[in-house]
Amino acid sequence: MISISDFSSKECDRIFELASEYKQNGAENECSGKILGSAFFEPSTRTMLSFHSAMQRLGGNVLGFSDTSTTSVKKGECLADTMRTLAAYCDLMVIRHPNEGSAKLSSEFASVPVINAGDGGREHPTQTLLDLFTIKENKDSVKGLNVVLCGDLKYGRTVHSLAMALAGMGADITCVSPPELKMPESVTTCLERKHKVSVVEENELSSAVKDADVLYMTRIQKERFGSPEEYAKVKDCYVVNKEIMSKANENMLLMHPLPRVNEISLDVDSDKRAIFFEQALNGVFVRMALISLILGVRD
């Protein structure tokens, strides 16, 4: 599972149905005796821990690493060899890596299924699945929704996968970002050619939020900038606070893949429209569904 485009809408619906079942009823030891290999070449809290939690809730085990300095990567081992080796020890692998295309490369060398948990600035498809699941839990249909994507749309891999999926489901997309962090042309071109969706671009969050059904905020990622000066130019350029929320409609959903820094004020957390912690929780159920379907313990 490398890209969100690997899934048909029917397959997405099955994942959501099963995730909903796990959320309501929990799970038996369906993956007992199975092992998830976890290869995190970059830091992660939610994605990694929710994958581990998902596998353990399904009765399976987890092995892997989250710090490459303790592995043979430190000795110069190439990605293909690391992943081929890990594949021999497990039934399913999840990888996060700083280079775009790393999950696809891993899938070419590994003997077990590979799940992409984020490859550089490219995609983060399981985040997209949990985002869609959260939207569907709160809205009747994705079709016709105006979804505003705001923040770092250039390096923010979650929004690339999400924009593709939303466009495929008939949502309208508005992008709000500083000029240097605009949605890559490769994504907008694909949206236009494949899904016939024209992306609307806005500079001001305060005006874009008025017609939004969903406001999806992203963090300006300090680690993606070449220098502190470049980061300082765009840091805190969009902040959702009570004033911004007062301009939004009462049914709008405020989402964020987390971690946040300053782009959502803490005083917004108690607003019923702020559902980002529920969104993070849903990550466990969606990943449980994905694991059990890929391993074939459910169909």
Binding site: N99, E100, G101, K104, L105, R122
Partner: protein
């Protein structure tokens, strides 16, 4: 004006190169390292298609598949004639393939095809005219101008 050039005994004739692109084709084929005779006709009238074309004849030299694919970026629609004992023994159209494998590099420095040196780059053709390809690893779209810049070095 009609031009007559000698037939070659053994080698390659690349015909119907878009007018003015012949020198670029020779650059791709490494003109500086070719010892055998080379003939380049530039901007001659094209009987079949109208307009101008270039033509190259190279004695004792045959194209590799990689060179063939590189020429697809510069001169799609050209024809490659293989000459043995002054006769055309094979004729191939240079057409844009569905995929370019190990022909060009991804322009994204963070793409895994650049950081893991043991793998071959791979691009799917998105559009043939103007040529546009998409990296099979990172999805970066590379356009005609960048492709041309890469193959002529």
């Amino acid at each position: 004006m009609s031009l007559k050039v000698d037939v070659i005994g053994n080698g390659t004739v690349i015909d119907h190169i878009p007018g003015g692109r012949g020198l670029l084709c020779l650059k791709v084929l490494g003109i500086e390292s070719i010892d055998s005779p080379v003939i380049l006709l530039s901007n001659v009238s094209s009987n079949n298609k109208g307009g101008k074309k270039d033509l190259i004849k190279i004695e004792d030299r045959f194209l590799t598949p990689k060179e063939h694919n590189k020429l697809a970026i510069i001169a799609p629609g050209a024809t490659v004639n293989i000459i043995n004992d002054t006769h055309v023994t094979d004729k191939r159209l240079i057409s844009v393939p569905e995929k370019f494998v190990d022909v060009i590099c991804c322009t994204n420095p963070n793409c895994v095809s650049n950081t893991e040196s043991y793998i071959s780059s791979s691009f799917a053709v998105e559009r043939k005219e103007p040529l546009e390809v998409r990296c099979s690893y990172c999805d970066r779209v590379v356009g005609a101008k960048q492709l041309l810049r890469q193959v002529i070095g």
